[in-house]
Amino acid sequence: MDWNRDKSVKLSKFCVLLFAALLAAVCLFAPELFRLLIRLRLWDQQVLLPLFLASTYTVAVPAAAALYGLWRLLKNISGGAVFVAENVAYLRLLSWCCIAAGLVCLASALYYMPFLLLSAAAAFVGLMLRVVKNAFAEAVNIKNENDYTI
């Protein structure tokens, strides 16, 4: 593995860890963060706080699963196993996690409209990952055929 590729994968792994830490921090401090937001916007805390918390903790589940999938994917890539069926499965997991997060955000848009933007963004990323997954699955087939051409 050359210097740039090695460093690039390490940087990606670092970013995944950073996002994992961010997710943990958001889960830990979500009540305080949303209380502050609600107080600043002068909204009704009794109604909105439980809804915001429910949305946050529900989205945290697919987010954590996506981070796990990314970590495993990067581990395989750094180990030289790129076009393998396992990576296709991880890409599928990532795609479904994005779509799940998009659905939760869509439901959350019922009480806070800006979640609609997040929902569209998450669904679009999920769609892109799905296309990448399809390309990866085809690449795995081509690699297998190439490996077994004598």
């Binding site: 297998n144 055929e145 077994y148 051409t149 004598i150």
Partner: protein
């Protein structure tokens, strides 16, 4: 796959070991094993030519088609 590779039959007829055939053809014993065990997805013409030369046979002696 309905295409069957009969290398082992020809090897037995020519009394040639797998190692010797792999060396003559210029492929690794592992790849020869893939061919012998019918796990290959494709065979290059150059490999087929080398196999025919090493085993002194025709492609039809090495490959067979059977209905699945």
């Amino acid at each position: 796959m309905p295409i069957v590779v009969n290398i082992d039959v020809m090897m037995a007829r020519r009394k040639m070991s797998a190692g010797e055939l792999a060396e003559r053809v210029g492929i690794t014993p592992a790849n020869l094993s893939i061919l012998k065990n019918n796990k290959a997805k494709a065979v290059r013409f150059s490999t087929l030519e080398a196999l025919c030369r090493a085993l002194d046979c025709k492609p039809a002696d090495l490959l067979d088609y059977t209905e699945e």
